[in-house]
Chain length 386, copies 2
């Protein structure tokens, strides 16, 4: 199927500070975004796509650097999220490192002129991101999105949209996500953060001024994260105990097994392009997300508070071999919705790839996404508003 | 139940070099060991206990520093492995850091006088350890052990005993173990090794000379390892999303959740007492263990090669929530034994604690161990030899 082709990122500046969950304010900031397709005259065909940990606004097509969008297999002309029918918006979240205001940008509050935010960038939450996204959507002249879509941490943002701005979207599509992190999820994030923070090149988060990057920490962080994205069986099928050389070399430091080579490569690549402070911020946003917390841990009550405006349709998708955000976690969300008699579809896809399955082109998964967006397109054509 | 009480570690020196799987030789070396109970006149009641990653010869009782043995709940007078009946031997493996010759000891091969082994300590395997243990057993005047017992990596040693020295033991008891590491197991080991090796204080494994310890790397290594020892549900029951303070502090670097506090504490403790080179050596021994490899990956054929002398009884124990060495891995061993018509008992214990269950006092687990050792004690009393 065709790609959307070349795409140019856009910038939007916001001079009004963003109030954050922490009580702090993010002073004037900019968001980087890209759009695909055409906004219809009724401005009713917009779909917002929220990104996960290491992704960005660049969801489809090919950017100026020749990079393909991270969800290009899903988004494009004739694809499940069909850009011939929908106006698709990808937006980079504040705190990230792909164009929107983040730790590597100038800190206007610093007494030291020219100092970048670094570790002083305010801690942002999923809710903060969603508020920033809502401002962008409004500035684009859209009062109601046809859908908000996201996978993993992006799925948490899609859920947060229904709770914070329920009148501004008609459909919520949350893939491979969870209503909060388990202790084990937090534990893995903490290992990654400790690897970064204790790297001597981190310099308390102000490494930019030292002309270094805490690459050792970023590499270890990515390696441990990557293990949790893959299913154990898939790792065994792909790598098993295959050696890199013809025979064992009996070395504790050289690569012996192909899986080591693969993981080191993932770590090396990541350390070249990802910002260490962004990694801390985004893993913390993951840790903090817990919409049930304000309702005594009862997710159903979290949705109940917005039940009047939540007469929209949810689609939740999970993958059988995902052990990071296992199907049980999606089912918790389904149960909370059902308890509120909120319309909800749920697909549990038998896929071998673990958490990463949400980024891959599984035929059953994409069939579910395609039929969902076809139904939404039909609603758009019929002028349905909620 | 009573403890064995105070115990004193013993040393045995071996002047004959140990030939290693790698082709290298370990020059004259010493092994640290401890014993409990009394060797009977027939020398037929000895049980060897093999240790796992971060443990030692100190299996029971209280040592000179006041530390309790790591399997004290299992081993002692009246305990499942009853020291009133058995002569129990705990031995520290070469390459470890608890008394036996290891990376922190003088390297007799170094051209630099007084230099310790450091990263030049020869790479040792499970088979090498078992060979070293066999020499110790022989020097103690024991020609056949009543049993070899181990959990996790210790279980691998118990299995290796049956393949390398089948005539020297009558029973093999392997708990929470696996016939080899999966790609995911190796991947976690590699993350830990990279954290250590890339710590600037590692100095290529010769940190001793610099008066430093790569504690940052050791901490991260222990944290990631520790996650894999615990069941996800147990972590949720014990820590869940409980906060350390009364409310969120919105910090990426301070501790927010109790699970972070716990993991950091585990990392800090470990970095104080464990040797970085030993960590590399032991995780590599884990990676390398694969008795089926020399038989085209067929574990049944590995046992078949020794089928004549393997007319002994195996006990395998696994724990339902162990995701590091899941029950399926023990069942692979059971199947390979059954295929050779080798007598084998298998207990799959429904325990919530994950891999660490093998160290804990689960009543059903200990009942299986108790009845197994009672049967072995009856054989000893009856003078059965294989």
């Amino acid at each position: 199927m065709a790609s959307v082709g070349p795409v140019t990122a856009q910038q939007m500046h916001f001079s009004e500070p963003l109030p954050l969950q922490s009580g702090a304010l993010l002073p004037s900031y900019q968001l980087t975004y890209e759009t695909h397709g055409t906004l219809n005259a009724e401005r009713s065909n917009a779909v917002l796509v929220c990104h996960a940990l290491n992704a960005s606004h660049h969801v489809a097509g090919v950017d100026a650097s020749g990079n393909k969008g991270w969800w290009d297999n899903l988004i494009g002309p004739g694809k499940p999220l069909d850009t011939n029918r929908f106006f698709v918006i990808g937006v980079n979240n504040p705190g990230s490192c792909f164009g929107s205001t983040g730790p590597m940008h100038l800190n206007p509050l610093s007494p030291v002129p020219g100092r970048v935010w670094g570790a002083d960038f305010p801690v942002v939450t999923v809710e903060d991101w969603v508020d920033a996204q809502a401002r962008l959507v409004q500035r684009l002249g859209i009062t109601q999105l046809a859908a908000v879509l996201g996978g993993s941490l992006g799925g948490m943002q899609a859920l947060a949209w229904t709770l914070r701005h329920p009148g501004m979207l008609r459909h919520c599509i949350a893939v491979a996500t969870a209503p909060n992190l388990s202790a084990q999820n937090i534990a893995f994030n903490e290992v990654a953060r400790r690897a970064i923070v204790t790297d001597p090149d981190f310099h308390g988060g102000h490494f930019y001024e030292h002309g270094v990057v805490p690459k050792r920490g970023l590499r270890v962080a990515r390696m441990v994260g990557h293990i949790t994205y893959l299913a154990e069986d898939a790792m065994d099928s792909k790598f098993g105990r295959e050696l890199k050389a013809a025979a064992l070399r009996y070395s504790t430091q050289d690569i012996e097994f192909q899986i080591e080579s693969y993981l080191r490569h993932q770590g090396d690549k990541f350390a070249e392009y990802f910002d260490a402070n962004t990694y801390l911020l985004i893993t913390r946003a993951l840790d903090y997300f817990d919409p049930a917390a304000a309702h005594g841990g009862d997710l159903a009550r979290a949705f109940a508070a917005n039940a009047e405006t939540l007469r929209k349709r949810f689609l939740l998708v999970s993958f059988t071999t995902d052990w990071r955000f296992a199907p049980e976690r999606s089912r918790e969300i389904v149960k909370a919705l059902v308890a509120n008699r909120i319309a909800c579809s749920y697909a549990e896809i038998d896929a071998p790839h673990g958490h990463d399955a949400f980024l891959l082109e599984d035929p059953r998964y994409h069939a579910v996404m395609r039929s969902t967006f076809e139904r939404i397109a039909a609603e758009v054509a019929a002028g349905v508003r909620s």
